[in-house]
């Protein structure tokens, strides 16, 4: 029983990470029709940004909690700014050239990981986190690593904030409408492209959170952390439905739990295979929105 509890919480923690990455990806693809491979770079900006800030800016701060929080805050900011810049400089000029947009994000991802490897080396770097996060909490006989709680909390917070943003603000309204029918939004006199940068920035911040948390999860930051999570995030996006935050959340939970359960109760690796094949299944059964551009992607 305690194993089951452990698996469930860890599965939810994993799902939380996937959701953080998938939420941005989903909005970006839903609104802009761009499959953003560079999202991995945003994750890396978050993790390395936080690590670097922790070492070089807040190194003298005594309280590890404060040091961690402040660094993380900056790491998030870096993520958002970097993402916004990527949209403005690389994506926007390639408007309506969809395949080139995808390729550019692929190239950016590869180049960025190489850059980080070049500057800081391929080895993992230790991350300074509050000691509490390394401890475990006893739940029903299972020893749950405390970082899982933070991951779940962070994902829940992001989910809530995103829903609030989408439902209560004007830009949220524009994004929700744009995901459905971009051309019609333009035909109402709204420049949807302003929302593009915003959506990228939001994605960047959420991905940066995932980056920070992956540093906590693994205890280290490494150049390729972003890429390995990215594939599963794609799966979550596809299963959850484009542009649907709620869908991504649900799919993230399903994928995270499935992986944990099957990897343990089945044999190692089975979970990963099932999840990957689930992706193929969903795409083949329901390719809408993925087979070609999103509706009305003209204006």
């Amino acid at each position: 029983m305690s194993t089951f509890v452990l698996l469930t919480i860890t599965g939810l923690g994993l799902g939380a990470m996937y959701f953080l990455i998938a939420s941005g990806l989903s909005l970006i693809y839903g609104l802009m029709g761009v499959l953003n491979f560079a999202h991995g770079a945003f994750i890396t900006v978050g993790s390395y940004g936080t690590w670097w800030t922790s070492e070089h800016v807040f190194g003298g701060v005594h309280s590890t909690l404060l040091r961690f929080l402040l660094s993380a805050l900056l790491g998030l900011a870096f993520g958002g700014i970097f993402a916004a810049l990527v949209e403005l400089v690389l994506i926007r000029p390639l408007y309506a050239r969809h395949i080139e947009q995808v390729l550019v994000t692929v190239g950016l991802q590869l180049a960025f990981v190489a850059l980080v490897t070049g500057i800081w080396g391929p080895d993992a770097k230790t991350f300074v986190v509050p000691v509490w996060l390394h401890a475990t909490t006893d739940v029903g006989g299972a020893h749950i690593p405390n970082d899982r709680w933070i991951e779940i909390a962070a994902a829940a917070a992001v989910l809530a904030l995103l829903q609030l943003f989408l439902r209560k603000t004007r830009y949220g309204l524009i994004i929700r409408a744009g995901v459905e029918n971009r051309a019609m939004v333009q035909a109402l006199g709204i420049d949807v492209r302003k929302a593009f940068t915003l959506v990228f920035a939001i994605g960047g911040i959420a991905a940066a959170i995932a980056g920070v948390l992956s540093g906590v999860y693994f205890n280290v930051v490494a150049p390729d952390q972003g890429t390995s999570l990215l594939i599963f995030a794609f799966i979550v996006v596809v299963i959850g439905g484009l542009g649907s935050i709620g869908g991504s959340a649900l799919a993230a939970v399903v994928v995270g739990l499935t992986q944990q359960y099957t990897n343990y109760y089945g044999s190692a690796g089975v979970g990963d295979m099932i999840v990957v094949l689930l992706l193929a299944l969903v795409l083949l059964a329901r390719p809408r929105g993925f087979a070609g551009a999103v509706t009305g992607a003209r204006a």
Binding site: R170, L173, I174, R176, A177, E180, N181, A183, M184, V185, Q186, A187, L188, G189, I190, D191, V192, G296, R298, A299
Partner: protein
């Protein structure tokens, strides 16, 4: 054109549009006089909807589009719309996931959107403000689509087959609404229902195979069944 000389509000010159390999509009030129309703007629597939979309810049086009004194051709769609051009698209294109109120809110463009007017004409929409637009009937969605255009003080309204797929009772209602719209703005109306056209339109432009083949007074046109049959392939409505 009509006997009384009126100012030209919207002017289209030599519009060419290619969709894929197809040369859909082959040099369309016409003027829309200010005030009242100008009907854009023609058989299915001649390019009526494409013409409206071309004016709005929703498709790539060559040629020139002028509103008043201003050249619209180089502007992006949202800027054209901000020059006080309203659009009621052929398939309504309401946002299914948004509520009625949200659909309207999205359409707000001016400082003071005319909600009083909209709810006066469409009290139904006020009642259903919190309802998701995807769950509305076809007629109700049409109301939302028109209301969106009505909300702002537009100089010209491009309206594409507003009565398509509606029951006769609704058709009359929509016609009445259009009448009120015409009091407030110039309307360029694409319509297959000739009864509605006869009721509303002052002038008519007829397209055939991507070209303008007739321009003139709407009533004069509709009074000649032979001409109507030749150009529009329908008996008198």
């Amino acid at each position: 054109m009509s006997a009384v000389a009126t100012r030209t509000l919207l002017s289209v010159r030599d519009l060419h549009v290619y969709l894929g390999q197809s040369h859909v509009l082959q040099g369309v030129s016409f003027d829309v006089p200010e005030g009242g309703v100008t009907a854009l007629l023609g058989r299915n597939g001649v390019g009526k909807t494409t013409t409206l979309r071309a004016i709005l810049g929703l498709v790539d086009r060559r040629g020139s589009v002028t509103l008043g004194d201003e050249e619209l051709t180089a502007l992006q769609t949202h800027r054209i719309v901000r020059r006080s051009v309203g659009y009621v698209p052929e398939d309504r294109d309401v946002f299914a996931g948004l509520t009625v109120a949200e659909n309207l809110r999205l359409a707000e463009r001016d400082q003071e959107p005319r909600y009083d007017l909209v709810y006066d004409i469409f009290p139904e929409l006020e009642r259903r403000a919190r309802q998701r637009a995807g769950t509305l009937s076809g007629g109700q969605q049409q109301m939302v689509a028109i209301a969106r255009a009505l909300l702002n003080d537009n100089r010209v309204l491009l309206v594409d087959e507003p009565t398509k797929g509606l029951a006769p009772a609704l058709v009359s209602e929509v016609a009445r609404v259009l009448e009120r719209l015409a009091e407030l703005a110039t309307v360029l109306l694409v319509e297959q229902n000739l009864g509605v056209v006869r009721h509303l339109a002052r002038d008519a432009i007829v397209l055939d195979q991507g070209r303008v083949v007739h321009m003139g007074d709407a009533h004069e046109l509709l009074a000649q069944p032979e001409l109507v049959r030749r150009l529009l392939s329908v008996g008198a409505a």
